[in-house]
């Protein structure tokens, strides 16, 4: 098997996929769910139900709040109890729609059967419209509204759809299980995306540590007979699934600083998103649930659960036996880029892919010592940056120099901090530098725009 990978940096953490044998099983529906209106990048959605309304599964309860926005659907049937601020997993408050669950009644028009529908609609626009109506957002982490990504700005042209099945973060296995258990649906989803982008070729990228998935998807593609679709075996390397890295690995094209993938002709969607596209287009089923890996060496039960959007984290954890004594940190997502959970009462969102339990020992950061100039951080950085330098510049609050040294290109993958033998909190500081560099860039762009408009008048 030839193996593909990105050209700069990367690290190789132990992959710890201890939940890989756990089939995806549905989690019983929680008695109450809390569905947030800001589950995606872009404008928060605007609730279109009122307290006291009866809702069904799959019914729209919030509408897009802007061009970059998404529909949000009820994940349960029941009564809207409140529409009020509620703390998310970091403890920050945002509007949530609280629904008390009664039964499990689905909205009309949703096909809840398992019948595989392989016929691809002829009209790309119809596909994109259904993706939009289904509230599909990127489920690989960024939660960018999918229909926006599928509508490239005028002048740019998509040349290839890439389905990201790398799942390069340690511990996570929900995409792997999805490829195994719903491979047909994912492949049809990929074909729909191909069609939506004008019949371009499609690459499904899967890391070499998932040989079963690679074999299965190859079989499915052969069986369903879609054209111009191939599986590409990727080297096990983090962050292989980073959008820019994956495009580099698959197409040997590097997306420029601040540019979008479409600028090099690529559209990337992850496996879970491809499945969501299938369900939205072929079955009229919006995103109301998603697969969540619950894992960690200190967690007694490994699991992949199909969880309704808006389920409180505590409900999931209690279902599996509660938080283990040794767990010191709970992470929503993977150990490299996931976010530490501060609030167990927070509810899942469309993009919740994993709950990972780490012990104090596993997650402890050793005390910081002097930089020994080993260059390991720079070797590891997939963006070709010099983390040791950016760290110093950010600490000196030299934001211009941060920008000059491309802090804004940092993808926050964590490779630098992961590798540093002196345990310097590189990324913590670089994030700050990146923030200032980005706001300086945005401020300049805004000023330039204003000046251009003033000149027109």
């Amino acid at each position: 098997m030839s193996k593909h990978t990105f050209s700069i940096g990367g690290v190789h953490p132990h992959d710890n996929k201890i939940s890989r044998e756990c089939a995806i099983t549905p989690l019983p529906i929680a008695p109450t769910v809390y569905i947030g209106v800001s589950q995606h990048i872009g404008a928060p959605s605007v609730p279109c139900v009122a307290v006291g309304d009866k809702v069904k599964v799959g019914q729209v309860i919030a509408e897009p709040g802007g061009f970059v926005g998404a529909y949000i659907h009820s994940s349960v049937s029941g009564t809207v109890k409140s529409i009020a601020p509620r703390a998310d997993l970091a403890g920050r408050a945002s509007t949530h729609i609280e629904i008390a669950v009664e039964g499990d009644e689905w909205a009309d028009g949703i096909d809840t059967t398992d019948t595989l529908i392989t016929a691809i609609p002829e009209d790309p626009k119809a596909i994109i419209e259904k993706v939009k109506l289904g509230g599909v957002v990127g489920l690989g982490g960024a939660t960018f509204p999918t229909h926006v990504k599928l509508s490239p700005p005028p002048g740019s042209k998509c040349e290839r759809v890439i389905i990201n099945g790398c799942e390069c973060e340690p511990y996570l296995t929900s995409d792997f299980r999805t490829l195994l258990e719903k491979g047909e649906q994912v492949v049809v989803g990929a074909a729909l995306l191909q069609k939506a982008m004008g019949g371009v070729p499609c690459t499904i990228a899967i890391e070499e540590n998932k040989p079963e998935a690679i074999a299965h998807i190859r079989e499915v593609i052969a069986k369903l007979g879609y054209k111009d679709m191939e599986v590409m075996v990727m080297k096990m390397m983090y962050p292989q699934g980073g959008e820019k890295q994956l495009i580099d690995a698959v197409m040997h094209r590097q997306v420029g600083s601040g540019a979008l993938p479409i600028s090099v002709g690529a559209v990337v969607q992850n496996v879970a998103t491809a499945l969501a596209v299938y369900e939205a287009v072929q079955k009229n089923k919006p995103i109301i649930d998603n697969s969540v890996t619950v894992t960690g060496e200190c967690f007694p039960k490994q699991a992949n659960l199909l969880v309704r959007v808006g389920t409180p984290l505590r409900y999931i954890i209690d279902y599996l036996g509660g938080v283990p004594e040794e767990a010191a940190k709970i992470i929503s997502g993977g150990p490299m880029m996931g976010r530490a959970v501060a609030n167990l009462d927070a509810a899942t969102v469309k993009g919740t892919g994993a709950l990972l339990f780490l012990t104090e020992k596993q997650t402890r950061r050793a005390p910081e010592t002097h930089c020994i100039r080993c260059g390991k951080c720079a070797d590891a950085c997939p963006m070709g940056l010099e983390p040791f330098l950016l760290n110093k510049l950010a600490k000196n609050a030299d934001w211009d120099a941060c920008e000059a040294n491309a802090a804004q290109d940092c993808i926050e993958c964590g490779c630098c901090l992961y590798s540093c033998p002196a345990h310097i909190p590189l990324l913590d500081n670089i994030r700050v530098g990146k923030g200032f560099a980005l706001s300086a860039i945005r401020a300049r762009a805004a000023a330039a725009k204003a000046a251009a408009e003033a000149a027109k008048k």
Partner: protein
């Protein structure tokens, strides 16, 4: 679980620490240490002991009493410096000379710059060169190794020293090198400072460091390649005046310097490109100093000179940034 820990990503860390990396360097030096003790006997053990102990104690005392900061000896870098210094001096060096070397290495070259990571020059090399300049008699009277159970040591100059002297007296290189055979050089059967004597043991350590990904091989390989190439040219032009490539590679601490001193993180460039330029510079300077300079070997000076330009190399040779020109 009492309270949830909340901190920014990443939430896991590689197992590498400064200490684990330095420990790997120590492990990589073990073959050479064992070799030199076997060949030179208890006197070498004394040099090693004094050197390591003084380096560690000095660093401990300086951090504790002068800097009033937590001790840094746990990172094992002082141990590495101690071993390297010991391998860089003859086994006959009196203990107090070794101690002076340690004071210069750790006290001056390392701690006055702010400790590990802040220094510009490789501490062990600074110590060695200081001794070479200050105590030339101790540093240049070498004895032919007699082995752990050997009796009297026979005094004699190092191969390179002998050749330089011989050349001054009008002999040709061929006559002079015929006294040595390369198997002796590889397997440590010649006069020289401890670390100069067993190329194979040092190379084994180098391979270990590369396999463990502690260092990258490019600096070392470019030194070897440059030394080989440049001396090939000189030797090709005038074999009576210049030593041949293999001889240059195997003598005068080149292997020790290229494998363990030039690859020191702190004092070598970060990028691969920078490292290659650094290595070529060291190789070139080494050969030129050997052929035309007044010191028979040149590795230490070559490395120290190139150490000084590392900041420039770091500025000039950077990794290409993703998606940028």
């Amino acid at each position: 679980m009492s309270k949830l820990l909340v901190s920014p990503s990443p939430h896991i860390h590689s197992k590498d620490s400064t200490r684990s990396l330095m420990l790997d360097v120590v492990i990589a030096l073990i073959p050479a240490v064992v070799c030199s003790v076997v060949f030179y006997g208890w006197q070498e053990l004394l040099v090693l002991g004094v050197s390591v102990a003084s380096c560690v104690l000095l660093e401990w005392a300086i951090t504790k009493y002068m800097l009033k900061k937590p001790s840094t000896i746990g990172d094992l870098s002082a141990v590495v410096t101690g071993i390297l210094l010991a391998l860089n001096v003859p086994y006959t060096t009196p203990w107090w000379v070794v101690f002076v070397g340690a004071v210069v290495a750790v006290g001056v070259a390392k701690m006055t710059f702010g400790g590990l990571g802040q220094n510009i020059w490789n501490p062990a090399l600074v110590g060695r060169v200081f001794l070479l300049v200050s105590f030339p008699t101790y540093m240049t009277t070498w004895s032919k190794p007699q082995g752990l159970f050997g009796v009297d040591a026979v005094s004699g100059p190092t191969p390179l020293g002998a050749i330089q002297e011989g050349l001054m007296q009008g002999s040709t290189v061929q006559e002079l090198t015929s006294a040595y055979n390369y198997k002796d050089l590889l397997f440590a059967n010649l006069g020289g400072s401890a670390g100069e004597v067993c190329a194979l043991a040092l190379l084994a350590g180098f391979v270990y460091l590369c396999c463990r990904k502690v260092i990258k091989p490019w600096i070392t390989l470019s030194i070897f390649a440059t030394v080989a190439l440049v001396s090939l040219i000189f030797w090709g032009v005038n074999p009576a005046r210049f030593t041949d490539p293999l001889f240059n590679l195997l003598t005068g601490g080149l292997v020790l310097g290229a494998c363990f001193m030039a690859t020191d993180y702190v004092t070598s460039p970060m990028s691969v490109k920078g490292g290659v330029v650094f290595g070529v510079g060291i190789g070139l300077l080494t050969v030129l100093i050997r052929y035309f300079g007044s010191y028979p070997e040149g590795v230490s000076f070559a490395i120290l000179i190139m150490n000084s330009v590392v900041p420039l190399l770091n500025m000039w040779f950077k990794q290409k940034k993703f998606g940028r020109k």
